[in-house]
Protein backbone atom coordinates (compact mmCIF):
# COMPACT_ATOMS: atom_id res chain seq x y z
CA UNK A 1 0.00 0.00 0.00
CA UNK A 2 1.37 3.42 -0.83
CA UNK A 3 2.08 5.53 2.21
CA UNK A 4 3.23 9.13 2.51
CA UNK A 5 6.75 8.11 3.52
CA UNK A 6 7.07 5.68 0.63
CA UNK A 7 10.53 6.10 -0.86
CA UNK A 8 10.69 7.64 -4.29
CA UNK A 9 11.35 5.33 -7.21
CA UNK A 10 15.03 4.81 -7.95
CA UNK A 11 16.12 6.59 -11.10
CA UNK A 12 17.56 4.42 -13.85
CA UNK A 13 19.93 6.03 -16.34
CA UNK A 14 20.60 4.21 -19.58
CA UNK A 15 23.91 4.82 -21.32
CA UNK A 16 23.91 3.86 -24.95
CA UNK A 17 26.13 4.69 -27.89
CA UNK A 18 27.71 2.96 -30.83
CA UNK A 19 30.60 0.47 -30.49
CA UNK A 20 33.71 2.28 -29.36
CA UNK A 21 32.00 5.60 -28.87
CA UNK A 22 33.35 5.98 -25.36
CA UNK A 23 30.53 4.80 -23.08
CA UNK A 24 32.83 3.00 -20.66
CA UNK A 25 35.44 5.76 -20.64
CA UNK A 26 32.78 8.31 -19.84
CA UNK A 27 31.37 6.13 -17.06
CA UNK A 28 34.75 5.35 -15.57
CA UNK A 29 35.45 9.09 -15.21
CA UNK A 30 32.03 10.06 -13.96
CA UNK A 31 31.90 7.21 -11.44
CA UNK A 32 35.08 8.45 -9.76
CA UNK A 33 33.09 11.36 -8.40
CA UNK A 34 32.24 10.82 -4.70
CA UNK A 35 28.63 11.78 -5.33
CA UNK A 36 28.21 8.64 -7.42
CA UNK A 37 29.19 6.16 -4.69
CA UNK A 38 25.67 4.82 -4.04
CA UNK A 39 24.84 4.43 -7.68
CA UNK A 40 24.83 0.85 -8.95
CA UNK A 41 26.20 0.13 -12.40
CA UNK A 42 25.03 -2.67 -14.69
CA UNK A 43 27.29 -3.48 -17.60
CA UNK A 44 27.12 -6.03 -20.38
CA UNK A 45 30.74 -6.94 -20.42
CA UNK A 46 33.75 -6.24 -18.31
CA UNK A 47 35.80 -4.64 -21.03
CA UNK A 48 39.40 -3.67 -21.24
CA UNK A 49 38.76 -0.32 -19.68
CA UNK A 50 38.30 -1.42 -16.09
CA UNK A 51 35.44 0.16 -14.27
CA UNK A 52 36.43 0.37 -10.65
CA UNK A 53 33.25 0.63 -8.69
CA UNK A 54 32.00 -1.38 -5.73
CA UNK A 55 28.44 -1.61 -7.01
CA UNK A 56 29.37 -2.94 -10.42
CA UNK A 57 27.19 -5.82 -11.64
CA UNK A 58 27.18 -7.74 -14.81
CA UNK A 59 24.06 -8.32 -16.84
CA UNK A 60 24.47 -10.43 -19.93
CA UNK A 61 22.03 -9.46 -22.58
CA UNK A 62 19.27 -12.03 -22.39
CA UNK A 63 16.32 -10.95 -24.39
CA UNK A 64 12.95 -12.63 -24.17
CA UNK A 65 10.82 -11.97 -27.20
CA UNK A 66 7.16 -12.16 -26.34
CA UNK A 67 4.86 -13.98 -28.74
CA UNK A 68 4.09 -11.91 -31.84
CA UNK A 69 5.88 -9.03 -30.22
CA UNK A 70 7.99 -6.49 -32.01
CA UNK A 71 11.60 -6.00 -31.02
CA UNK A 72 11.00 -2.99 -28.80
CA UNK A 73 8.37 -4.81 -26.75
CA UNK A 74 10.76 -7.39 -25.40
CA UNK A 75 11.79 -8.00 -21.85
CA UNK A 76 15.39 -8.11 -20.84
CA UNK A 77 15.48 -10.99 -18.36
CA UNK A 78 19.04 -10.29 -17.28
CA UNK A 79 18.04 -6.78 -16.34
CA UNK A 80 15.03 -7.96 -14.37
CA UNK A 81 17.24 -10.33 -12.38
CA UNK A 82 19.91 -7.74 -11.74
CA UNK A 83 17.47 -5.02 -10.70
CA UNK A 84 15.51 -7.38 -8.44
CA UNK A 85 18.81 -8.56 -6.94
CA UNK A 86 19.76 -5.00 -6.08
CA UNK A 87 16.38 -4.39 -4.44
CA UNK A 88 16.91 -7.53 -2.43
CA UNK A 89 20.32 -6.51 -1.18
CA UNK A 90 19.09 -3.05 -0.38
CA UNK A 91 16.16 -4.48 1.55
CA UNK A 92 18.46 -6.72 3.60
CA UNK A 93 20.70 -3.78 4.35
CA UNK A 94 23.71 -5.28 2.61
CA UNK A 95 24.19 -2.18 0.55
CA UNK A 96 23.40 1.44 1.27
CA UNK A 97 20.10 2.78 -0.11
CA UNK A 98 20.53 3.15 -3.84
CA UNK A 99 20.68 6.64 -5.21
CA UNK A 100 20.31 5.42 -8.74
CA UNK A 101 21.22 2.81 -11.32
CA UNK A 102 23.27 3.24 -14.46
CA UNK A 103 22.75 0.63 -17.18
CA UNK A 104 25.37 0.47 -19.87
CA UNK A 105 24.16 -1.16 -23.07
CA UNK A 106 26.19 -2.84 -25.75
CA UNK A 107 27.04 -0.73 -28.76
CA UNK A 108 24.43 -2.31 -30.99
CA UNK A 109 21.63 -2.42 -28.45
CA UNK A 110 18.34 -0.69 -28.94
CA UNK A 111 17.44 1.11 -25.69
CA UNK A 112 13.67 0.58 -26.12
CA UNK A 113 13.58 -2.95 -24.59
CA UNK A 114 15.30 -1.63 -21.46
CA UNK A 115 12.65 1.05 -21.03
CA UNK A 116 9.96 -1.51 -21.71
CA UNK A 117 11.41 -3.86 -19.09
CA UNK A 118 11.37 -1.21 -16.37
CA UNK A 119 7.87 0.06 -17.26
CA UNK A 120 6.15 -3.26 -17.63
CA UNK A 121 7.63 -5.59 -15.01
CA UNK A 122 5.06 -6.03 -12.23
CA UNK A 123 7.62 -5.40 -9.47
CA UNK A 124 10.19 -3.20 -11.14
CA UNK A 125 7.66 -0.63 -12.31
CA UNK A 126 6.94 0.28 -8.69
CA UNK A 127 10.56 0.57 -7.60
CA UNK A 128 12.34 2.06 -10.55
CA UNK A 129 11.73 4.78 -13.06
CA UNK A 130 13.70 5.57 -16.19
CA UNK A 131 15.28 8.92 -15.55
CA UNK A 132 17.08 9.53 -18.80
CA UNK A 133 18.80 7.98 -21.76
CA UNK A 134 22.33 9.18 -22.42
CA UNK A 135 23.87 8.50 -25.81
CA UNK A 136 27.57 8.89 -26.52
CA UNK A 137 28.60 9.92 -30.01
CA UNK A 138 32.20 9.70 -31.06
CA UNK A 139 33.32 13.02 -32.55
CA UNK A 140 35.90 11.27 -34.73
CA UNK A 141 33.94 8.32 -36.11
CA UNK A 142 30.42 9.52 -35.30
CA UNK A 143 29.64 10.84 -38.79
CA UNK A 144 30.72 7.50 -40.26
CA UNK A 145 28.52 5.53 -37.84
CA UNK A 146 25.59 7.79 -38.66
CA UNK A 147 26.08 7.22 -42.38
CA UNK A 148 26.36 3.49 -42.15
CA UNK A 149 24.43 2.27 -39.13
CA UNK A 150 20.73 2.85 -38.58
CA UNK A 151 21.18 1.72 -34.94
CA UNK A 152 23.23 4.81 -34.35
CA UNK A 153 20.43 7.11 -35.51
CA UNK A 154 17.94 5.20 -33.35
CA UNK A 155 20.14 5.58 -30.29
CA UNK A 156 20.38 9.34 -30.78
CA UNK A 157 16.63 9.57 -31.33
CA UNK A 158 16.03 7.75 -28.05
CA UNK A 159 18.40 9.97 -26.06
CA UNK A 160 17.62 12.78 -23.65
CA UNK A 161 21.27 13.78 -23.40
CA UNK A 162 23.83 13.31 -26.16
CA UNK A 163 27.49 13.38 -25.13
CA UNK A 164 30.05 14.08 -27.83
CA UNK A 165 33.20 12.19 -26.87
CA UNK A 166 36.76 12.40 -28.16
CA UNK A 167 36.28 16.06 -29.01
CA UNK A 168 39.92 16.47 -27.93
CA UNK A 169 41.21 14.42 -30.85
CA UNK A 170 38.75 15.34 -33.55
CA UNK A 171 39.35 17.98 -36.19
CA UNK A 172 38.21 21.46 -35.32
CA UNK A 173 35.33 21.85 -37.76
CA UNK A 174 33.97 18.37 -37.21
CA UNK A 175 32.39 18.92 -33.80
CA UNK A 176 30.18 21.77 -34.99
CA UNK A 177 28.98 19.75 -37.95
CA UNK A 178 28.24 16.77 -35.74
CA UNK A 179 26.29 18.93 -33.29
CA UNK A 180 24.19 20.08 -36.23
CA UNK A 181 23.55 16.53 -37.32
CA UNK A 182 22.64 15.35 -33.85
CA UNK A 183 20.31 18.34 -33.47
CA UNK A 184 18.78 17.48 -36.82
CA UNK A 185 17.96 13.96 -35.68
CA UNK A 186 16.85 14.84 -32.18
CA UNK A 187 16.20 18.52 -31.48
CA UNK A 188 14.89 17.73 -27.99
CA UNK A 189 18.17 16.35 -26.65
CA UNK A 190 20.73 18.29 -24.65
CA UNK A 191 24.15 18.03 -26.31
CA UNK A 192 27.29 18.01 -24.10
CA UNK A 193 30.95 17.64 -24.93
CA UNK A 194 33.31 15.38 -23.03
CA UNK A 195 36.94 15.84 -24.09
CA UNK A 196 39.07 13.01 -22.63
CA UNK A 197 35.87 11.47 -21.29
CA UNK A 198 35.74 14.13 -18.61
CA UNK A 199 32.38 15.56 -17.67
CA UNK A 200 30.91 16.92 -14.47
CA UNK A 201 28.32 14.41 -13.15
CA UNK A 202 26.07 17.33 -12.23
CA UNK A 203 26.00 18.35 -15.84
CA UNK A 204 25.26 14.81 -16.97
CA UNK A 205 22.67 13.91 -14.34
CA UNK A 206 21.33 17.40 -13.64
CA UNK A 207 18.26 18.87 -15.28
CA UNK A 208 20.23 21.09 -17.59
CA UNK A 209 19.09 24.25 -15.81
CA UNK A 210 22.60 25.67 -16.02
CA UNK A 211 22.65 25.09 -19.74
CA UNK A 212 22.38 28.47 -21.38
CA UNK A 213 21.52 27.35 -24.87
CA UNK A 214 18.17 28.73 -25.98
CA UNK A 215 15.22 26.52 -25.16
CA UNK A 216 14.06 27.63 -28.55
CA UNK A 217 10.30 27.63 -28.66
CA UNK A 218 9.82 30.11 -31.43
CA UNK A 219 6.82 30.57 -33.66
CA UNK A 220 7.46 29.24 -37.07
CA UNK A 221 8.74 31.72 -39.57
CA UNK A 222 10.38 30.62 -42.74
CA UNK A 223 10.69 27.00 -41.79
CA UNK A 224 8.02 25.14 -43.60
CA UNK A 225 6.01 22.62 -41.57
CA UNK A 226 8.54 22.66 -38.77
CA UNK A 227 10.50 19.97 -40.50
CA UNK A 228 13.94 19.98 -38.98
CA UNK A 229 17.08 19.12 -40.80
CA UNK A 230 16.48 15.61 -41.79
CA UNK A 231 19.09 12.97 -41.98
CA UNK A 232 18.29 10.54 -44.77
CA UNK A 233 14.88 9.15 -43.84
CA UNK A 234 14.74 10.52 -40.31
CA UNK A 235 12.57 13.57 -39.83
CA UNK A 236 11.95 15.63 -36.75
CA UNK A 237 8.71 17.53 -36.41
CA UNK A 238 8.35 20.22 -33.75
CA UNK A 239 4.95 21.67 -33.15
CA UNK A 240 2.69 23.45 -30.71
CA UNK A 241 -1.10 23.83 -30.51
CA UNK A 242 -3.22 26.95 -30.65
CA UNK A 243 -4.97 26.01 -27.40
CA UNK A 244 -5.37 23.31 -24.78
CA UNK A 245 -5.52 19.78 -26.16
CA UNK A 246 -8.07 17.21 -25.03
CA UNK A 247 -5.80 14.60 -23.46
CA UNK A 248 -8.19 11.72 -24.10
CA UNK A 249 -8.56 12.61 -27.77
CA UNK A 250 -4.81 13.04 -28.13
CA UNK A 251 -4.40 9.59 -26.58
CA UNK A 252 -6.80 8.17 -29.16
CA UNK A 253 -4.88 9.74 -32.04
CA UNK A 254 -1.46 8.85 -30.73
CA UNK A 255 -2.28 5.26 -29.78
CA UNK A 256 -3.75 4.82 -33.26
CA UNK A 257 -0.58 6.24 -34.83
CA UNK A 258 1.62 3.99 -32.70
CA UNK A 259 -0.38 0.99 -33.75
CA UNK A 260 -0.23 1.78 -37.45
CA UNK A 261 3.27 3.24 -37.66
CA UNK A 262 4.89 2.49 -34.29
CA UNK A 263 8.17 1.24 -35.70
CA UNK A 264 8.58 4.46 -37.66
CA UNK A 265 7.91 6.73 -34.71
CA UNK A 266 11.37 6.64 -33.20
CA UNK A 267 10.68 9.13 -30.48
CA UNK A 268 8.16 11.54 -29.10
CA UNK A 269 8.88 14.03 -26.39
CA UNK A 270 7.12 17.13 -25.22
CA UNK A 271 4.92 19.10 -22.90
CA UNK A 272 1.22 19.20 -23.73
CA UNK A 273 -1.15 21.86 -22.47
CA UNK A 274 -4.25 19.87 -21.54
CA UNK A 275 -6.05 22.72 -19.84
CA UNK A 276 -4.85 21.85 -16.32
CA UNK A 277 -2.63 23.85 -13.98
CA UNK A 278 0.42 22.16 -15.49
CA UNK A 279 1.25 20.32 -18.68
CA UNK A 280 1.46 16.62 -19.38
CA UNK A 281 5.01 15.42 -19.90
CA UNK A 282 4.91 12.97 -22.78
CA UNK A 283 7.94 10.84 -23.54
CA UNK A 284 8.09 7.75 -25.69
CA UNK A 285 10.64 5.65 -27.49
CA UNK A 286 8.98 3.72 -30.30
CA UNK A 287 5.95 1.91 -28.84
CA UNK A 288 7.25 2.31 -25.33
CA UNK A 289 5.59 5.29 -23.69
CA UNK A 290 6.76 6.55 -20.29
CA UNK A 291 3.81 6.82 -17.93
CA UNK A 292 2.64 10.35 -18.87
CA UNK A 293 3.37 12.73 -16.03
CA UNK A 294 0.69 15.30 -15.28
CA UNK A 295 2.79 18.10 -13.80
CA UNK A 296 1.47 20.43 -11.11
CA UNK A 297 2.81 23.49 -12.84
CA UNK A 298 4.69 24.64 -15.92
CA UNK A 299 8.49 24.52 -15.67
CA UNK A 300 8.87 28.04 -17.06
CA UNK A 301 7.01 31.12 -18.24
CA UNK A 302 6.12 29.66 -21.58
CA UNK A 303 2.72 28.01 -21.24
CA UNK A 304 2.41 26.64 -24.74
CA UNK A 305 2.44 23.00 -25.75
CA UNK A 306 5.69 21.94 -27.40
CA UNK A 307 6.21 18.51 -28.77
CA UNK A 308 8.78 16.81 -30.99
CA UNK A 309 8.16 13.74 -33.13
CA UNK A 310 11.17 11.94 -34.57
CA UNK A 311 10.05 9.70 -37.36
CA UNK A 312 11.50 7.48 -40.00
CA UNK A 313 9.90 7.79 -43.41
CA UNK A 314 6.98 9.86 -42.11
CA UNK A 315 7.22 13.47 -43.25
CA UNK A 316 6.46 16.38 -40.92
CA UNK A 317 3.57 17.47 -43.16
CA UNK A 318 1.87 14.12 -42.64
CA UNK A 319 1.94 14.48 -38.85
CA UNK A 320 0.73 18.09 -38.94
CA UNK A 321 -1.94 17.21 -41.48
CA UNK A 322 -3.20 14.30 -39.46
CA UNK A 323 -3.38 16.37 -36.26
CA UNK A 324 -5.20 19.04 -38.22
CA UNK A 325 -7.75 16.45 -39.32
CA UNK A 326 -8.21 15.36 -35.71
CA UNK A 327 -8.41 18.95 -34.44
CA UNK A 328 -12.20 18.65 -34.21
CA UNK A 329 -11.66 15.97 -31.56
CA UNK A 330 -8.56 17.30 -29.79
CA UNK A 331 -9.98 20.83 -29.67
CA UNK A 332 -6.78 22.51 -30.85
CA UNK A 333 -4.97 22.96 -34.14
CA UNK A 334 -1.31 22.11 -34.56
CA UNK A 335 1.17 24.85 -35.38
CA UNK A 336 4.62 23.96 -36.67
CA UNK A 337 7.59 25.30 -34.80
CA UNK A 338 11.15 25.93 -35.77
CA UNK A 339 13.11 22.76 -35.33
CA UNK A 340 15.37 24.07 -32.60
CA UNK A 341 13.41 22.83 -29.63
CA UNK A 342 14.43 21.55 -26.25
CA UNK A 343 12.07 20.12 -23.69
Amino acid sequence: MPSPDKPAKRPVTIVTGFLGSGKTTLLSRVLLDPSMSDTAVLVNEFGKVGLDHHLLRRADEKTVLLGHGCVCCTTRDDLVEALLGLLDEEGRGEIAPLKGIVVETTGLADPAPILYTVFSHPVLQHHYRVDRVICTVDAVNGPLHLDRNPESTKQIAAADVVVLTKTDVSEAGLVGGLRGRVGGINPSARVLEAPFGALDPDELFGDGAADQSPSGLRPSGAVEFGDGLHVSETHSTSLTFDGPVDWTAFGTWFSMLLHARGEDVLRVKGLLDVGGSGPVLLNGVQHVIHPPDHLEEWPDEDRRSRIVFITRGIRAEEIVDSLETFSGLTGARPQPLEANLRV
Binding site: C73, S255, I289, S322, F326, G328
Partner: protein
Amino acid sequence: MCVLCGQDFVAQAHWTDRYVEDRARAAGPDADPTEYQRDRRRDRAHRAAVTNEVLAYYGLRVKDWAGSKYVLSDGKGNSRIVQDLGALWPAAEKILGRPLDPLDPALKERMLDGALAR
Protein backbone atom coordinates in the same frame (compact mmCIF):
# COMPACT_ATOMS: atom_id res chain seq x y z
CA MET B 1 2.78 -7.61 -22.04
CA CYS B 2 3.05 -5.50 -25.14
CA VAL B 3 1.50 -2.05 -25.10
CA LEU B 4 0.18 -2.82 -28.54
CA CYS B 5 -1.21 -6.28 -28.06
CA GLY B 6 -1.70 -6.25 -24.29
CA GLN B 7 -4.84 -8.15 -23.47
CA ASP B 8 -6.57 -9.03 -20.26
CA PHE B 9 -3.68 -9.62 -17.89
CA VAL B 10 -3.68 -6.13 -16.51
CA ALA B 11 -0.36 -5.92 -14.74
CA GLN B 12 0.04 -2.50 -16.19
CA ALA B 13 -2.42 0.22 -17.06
CA HIS B 14 -2.13 1.45 -20.64
CA TRP B 15 -0.52 4.87 -20.81
CA THR B 16 -3.78 6.48 -21.93
CA ASP B 17 -5.45 5.21 -18.72
CA ARG B 18 -2.63 6.18 -16.41
CA TYR B 19 -3.86 9.59 -15.34
CA VAL B 20 -7.08 8.40 -13.78
CA GLU B 21 -5.72 5.06 -12.53
CA ASP B 22 -2.65 6.60 -10.92
CA ARG B 23 -4.64 9.23 -9.09
CA ALA B 24 -6.95 6.59 -7.69
CA ARG B 25 -3.98 4.51 -6.53
CA ALA B 26 -2.10 7.47 -5.08
CA ALA B 27 -5.11 8.39 -2.97
CA GLY B 28 -4.51 5.28 -0.88
CA PRO B 29 -6.85 3.01 1.03
CA ASP B 30 -8.52 5.73 3.09
CA ALA B 31 -9.83 7.72 0.14
CA ASP B 32 -13.44 7.66 -0.93
CA PRO B 33 -13.53 5.16 -3.81
CA THR B 34 -16.66 6.64 -5.38
CA GLU B 35 -14.92 9.94 -5.99
CA TYR B 36 -12.37 8.39 -8.32
CA GLN B 37 -14.85 5.97 -9.75
CA ARG B 38 -16.95 8.86 -11.00
CA ASP B 39 -13.89 10.44 -12.71
CA ARG B 40 -12.95 7.12 -14.14
CA ARG B 41 -16.38 6.41 -15.61
CA ARG B 42 -16.58 9.92 -17.04
CA ASP B 43 -13.15 9.48 -18.62
CA ARG B 44 -14.12 6.13 -20.12
CA ALA B 45 -17.38 7.49 -21.55
CA HIS B 46 -15.49 10.39 -23.09
CA ARG B 47 -12.83 8.08 -24.53
CA ALA B 48 -15.48 5.84 -26.07
CA ALA B 49 -17.24 8.88 -27.60
CA VAL B 50 -14.04 10.32 -29.09
CA THR B 51 -12.86 6.96 -30.39
CA ASN B 52 -16.28 6.31 -31.93
CA GLU B 53 -15.96 9.48 -34.00
CA VAL B 54 -12.91 7.92 -35.64
CA LEU B 55 -14.18 4.35 -35.75
CA ALA B 56 -17.38 5.50 -37.48
CA TYR B 57 -15.34 6.04 -40.66
CA TYR B 58 -14.49 2.37 -40.63
CA GLY B 59 -17.99 1.17 -39.82
CA LEU B 60 -16.97 0.17 -36.31
CA ARG B 61 -18.08 1.28 -32.86
CA VAL B 62 -16.92 0.83 -29.31
CA LYS B 63 -18.90 0.72 -26.07
CA ASP B 64 -17.79 0.93 -22.48
CA TRP B 65 -18.72 -2.34 -20.85
CA ALA B 66 -19.55 -1.89 -17.19
CA GLY B 67 -16.51 0.30 -16.63
CA SER B 68 -14.11 -2.59 -16.96
CA LYS B 69 -13.70 -3.41 -20.66
CA TYR B 70 -14.64 -2.00 -24.01
CA VAL B 71 -16.64 -3.91 -26.60
CA LEU B 72 -15.66 -3.25 -30.19
CA SER B 73 -18.14 -4.29 -32.86
CA ASP B 74 -18.97 -3.83 -36.52
CA GLY B 75 -22.32 -3.84 -38.30
CA LYS B 76 -22.13 -7.51 -39.19
CA GLY B 77 -22.18 -8.90 -35.72
CA ASN B 78 -18.46 -9.27 -35.20
CA SER B 79 -17.31 -8.14 -31.81
CA ARG B 80 -14.21 -8.18 -29.63
CA ILE B 81 -13.68 -7.41 -25.98
CA VAL B 82 -10.68 -5.19 -25.39
CA GLN B 83 -9.02 -3.81 -22.29
CA ASP B 84 -7.78 -0.45 -23.51
CA LEU B 85 -6.75 1.59 -26.53
CA GLY B 86 -3.55 -0.42 -26.79
CA ALA B 87 -5.65 -3.50 -27.56
CA LEU B 88 -8.42 -1.73 -29.44
CA TRP B 89 -6.48 -0.85 -32.60
CA PRO B 90 -5.09 -4.34 -33.21
CA ALA B 91 -8.60 -5.78 -32.66
CA ALA B 92 -10.08 -3.26 -35.11
CA GLU B 93 -7.40 -4.20 -37.62
CA LYS B 94 -8.35 -7.87 -37.24
CA ILE B 95 -12.02 -7.17 -37.86
CA LEU B 96 -11.33 -4.88 -40.82
CA GLY B 97 -8.48 -6.82 -42.30
CA ARG B 98 -6.32 -3.71 -42.68
CA PRO B 99 -4.63 -1.31 -40.28
CA LEU B 100 -6.33 1.92 -39.23
CA ASP B 101 -3.80 4.60 -40.04
CA PRO B 102 -4.38 8.18 -38.85
CA LEU B 103 -1.98 9.40 -41.57
CA ASP B 104 -4.12 7.87 -44.32
CA PRO B 105 -5.21 10.70 -46.69
CA ALA B 106 -8.50 8.88 -47.35
CA LEU B 107 -9.38 9.04 -43.64
CA LYS B 108 -8.62 12.75 -43.67
CA GLU B 109 -10.96 13.34 -46.57
CA ARG B 110 -13.76 11.42 -44.97
CA MET B 111 -13.28 13.14 -41.62
CA LEU B 112 -13.34 16.57 -43.27
CA ASP B 113 -16.48 15.63 -45.21
CA GLY B 114 -18.02 14.40 -41.99
CA ALA B 115 -17.19 17.67 -40.24
CA LEU B 116 -18.79 19.66 -43.08
CA ALA B 117 -21.90 17.53 -43.09
CA ARG B 118 -22.50 18.21 -39.41
